[in-house]
């Protein structure tokens, strides 16, 4: 066996350039695999965190009807007694904040805007005292211009992309048209509220940047006649607490007609979209296999063709077919080994800036809604499993791919080999 390894190794050095090109092609594919996987999984993890931080919290307490209607966000199906719910949540060591979310129409005129128009938005009434317990919206980092709205006034803060889209500035005034709740016999009516933009924010969620208008909760309560009811109580778990654990505990305590929905349940559509994109890494694996398949098959066939005579001679000397096969498999594995080492090294090296600095996908994400809750930088992650798989794949693919050409090496009769027929 040792002499076969020696032979395979020396054969690899015979056409150094060819060996290097083939291994580099493989290495390149493996590198791509590591990088893509790092970015896709990194983006997904980061996107999930951002979704939690700016839209869903760790979960929300809603009525089942409200959960069904999450897409349309009418004001029906409310939480009637938020303070009771909040104390239940707090009794379990978690934090809570109430919000009113309702679909609304934003109507703006040429008095304050370059062009008159109307745009659908999501009006979110926030309790400024407790919102930061759950979400990460109202902090200096996210404020691009102006200030946050104050309690008891008709002031709003809007997302920066929305502001750009319609040309809103601090000081712009527009009208919100909102349908009030349909409760029992009361069909509700359209309420219009004139509000002033006092601040513009940019957060990690494109969804918020694109279509959310934040309004003080007390003003929403007054104008929409909610009588202290809200549409949701958002929850932030203490660090280390498991969602499932909290879920079972809180559901025992919650009054009839309310349920805890995890961020995964609330973001199910979003998750389906983004997690499907992570499947993209399997396409990369496929590409790697194709590169390796073509490159290595070609190299092996060339090698075997030009060594026809030599192979005939070795077989004449009594080298068995199985030894010849082993020698070629070892040669293929050698290419795989070089490719794996170089590919994994390059992949890890390139991944360092991906993890530390990230890539700014802002301009791209701004125009194309990919579902990701990322509005600027995407960061890679370190995935040891992927790095090991890349190495393993790099070793195994050439060996599997090398089997066919190797078969060809021993098909011809020995005299045909020796005399080059």
């Amino acid at each position: 066996m040792l002499f076969l390894i020696n032979l395979a190794w020396k054969n690899l050095t015979r056409h150094k350039r060819r060996t290097i090109i083939t291994s580099i092609a493989l290495a390149f594919g493996l590198m791509l695999f590591i990088i893509m996987d790092s970015l896709l999984i990194g983006a997904l993890e980061q996107s999930n965190i951002n979704l939690i931080d700016s839209e869903t919290g760790d979960g929300k307490i809603l009525t089942p009807m409200a959960f069904e209607d999450l897409k349309f966000m009418p004001l029906s199906n409310r939480v009637k007694n938020p303070s009771e719910i909040i104390s239940i949540v707090e009794s379990l060591g978690a934090k809570a904040s109430k919000r009113v979310n309702v679909s609304a129409e934003m109507i703006y005129t040429e008095d304050y805007f370059p062009k008159a128009g109307a745009t659908p938005i999501l009006l979110t009434g926030v309790d400024l005292e407790s919102d930061n317990n759950v979400f990460k919206i109202f902090n200096e980092k996210s404020l691009v211009d102006g200030r946050f709205m104050s309690k008891g006034s008709d002031e709003v803060v809007i997302g920066s992309w929305l502001a750009e889209d319609i040309g809103a500035k601090v000081g712009s005034v527009f009208t919100l048209a909102v349908k009030t709740a349909a409760d029992g016999d009361d069909p509700g009516y359209f309420q219009t509220i004139d509000v002033e933009v006092v601040g513009i924010i940019n957060v990690s969620s494109p969804m918020v940047n694109r279509r959310v208008v934040y309004y003080p909760l007390d003003m929403a309560d007054f104008n929409l006649e909610l009588n202290d009811s809200v549409t949701e109580v958002a929850v932030r778990l203490p660090l280390g607490e498991k969602l499932e654990n909290f879920n079972t505990k809180v559901e025992e305590l919650l009054p009839e007609g309310y349920e805890f929905y995890t961020w995964r349940e609330i973001g199910a559509d979003y998750l389906a979209l983004t997690e499907a994109k992570s499947g993209g890494s399997s396409i990369i694996i496929f590409l790697v296999i194709i590169i390796a398949l073509v490159g290595i098959t070609n190299t092996m066939l060339m090698t075997i063709n030009e060594r026809q005579q030599e192979l005939g001679m070795m077989r004449a000397l009594g080298m068995s077919d199985s030894n010849i096969r082993k020698a070629f498999i070892l040669e293929a594995a050698g290419i795989g080994f070089i490719g794996s080492v170089v590919g994994v090294l390059l992949g890890c090296l390139l991944n360092i800036p991906m993890v530390n600095t990230g890539i700014n996908f802002g301009p791209y994400l701004r125009d194309a809604d990919m579902g990701y809750r990322i509005s600027t930088y995407m960061y890679g992650i370190w995935n040891i499993k992927t790095i090991f798989s890349a190495f393993f794949l790099g070793l195994v693919i050439p060996v599997i791919v090398g089997i066919y050409p190797t078969k060809r090496a021993i098909q011809k009769s020995i005299p045909d080999c020796i005399y080059g027929r």
Binding site: L7, T13, Q309, M313, M314, A316, G318, M319, P415, I418
Partner: protein, 226 residues
């Protein structure tokens, strides 16, 4: 030692059948130094290949010792070659990436001998063929004559019953060819190894102790000299 009876070999060449060997019968004794001579296309290579168990025969029998090679399966032939036969070819004779030492050690590696047994044998035979000190050279750093010496060493290192050489001097100038032939003769004398080699070179034929002259697949002359 070798008994060939009515050996027939035909090749299919397109629509034609080439009668390469047309019923050859000849006995070769152990320790003989036999040349197969004849013009190009007369069947020399075919005959050596059949004796060497790398080509099949169509009719007749070939016995090497008590082995009937006509009845051997592929794998059996491979083992038989590995254990009993030495080969010297005209070209593509050595593995270009291996050193002289490694080339000579190759047949012993195939036999699975341990390195400590291989080393003294290889060094000894390299010395006998006059390549002492050149063990670490790869073939391209050796002259044609030296390369053929490595081949001879490789053929002899396992002490085979029989060495087959197809035109071993054809690629060499006449002086070097002469030296190679002298070396083969010396090895034949010293190790009592049976040699069968083919040639169409007059000078080489004269060195042979026995000359089988082939023409169109038939032995037309069988001479012994001292």
């Amino acid at each position: 030692m070798i008994k060939i009876k009515n050996l027939v070999k035909n090749y299919q060449s397109g629509a034609n059948v080439v009668h390469a060997l047309k019923g050859i019968s000849v006995d070769i004794d152990s320790g003989e130094f036999t040349a197969i001579a004849g013009p190009s296309g007369s069947g020399k290579t075919t005959m050596l290949n059949i004796i060497g168990c790398i080509d099949s025969l169509d009719n007749g029998t070939v016995l090497i010792g008590d082995k009937d090679i006509g009845t051997m399966q592929k794998l059996e032939k491979s083992y038989f070659r590995r254990e009993n036969l030495g080969f010297i070819f005209q070209s593509y004779n050595l593995i270009p990436v291996l050193t002289a030492y490694e080339n000579v050690a190759f047949p012993l590696n195939l036999l699975g001998l341990p390195e400590k047994e291989i080393k003294p044998r290889v060094m000894q035979i390299l010395k006998e063929v006059g390549l002492e000190g050149m063990e670490d050279r790869i073939p391209s750093k050796l002259s044609g004559g030296q390369q053929q010496r490595v081949s001879i060493a490789r053929a002899l290192v396992k002490n085979p019953q029989l060495v087959l050489a197809d035109e071993p001097t054809a690629n060499l100038d006449s002086n070097t060819g002469r030296e190679i032939l002298d070396l083969m003769l010396e090895m034949n004398r010293k190790h009592k190894t049976t040699f069968i080699f083919s040639t169409h070179d007059q000078m080489v034929m004269e060195c042979a102790k026995r000359l089988l002259y082939l023409h169109d697949g038939e032995v037309i002359r069988d001479e012994r000299r001292e």
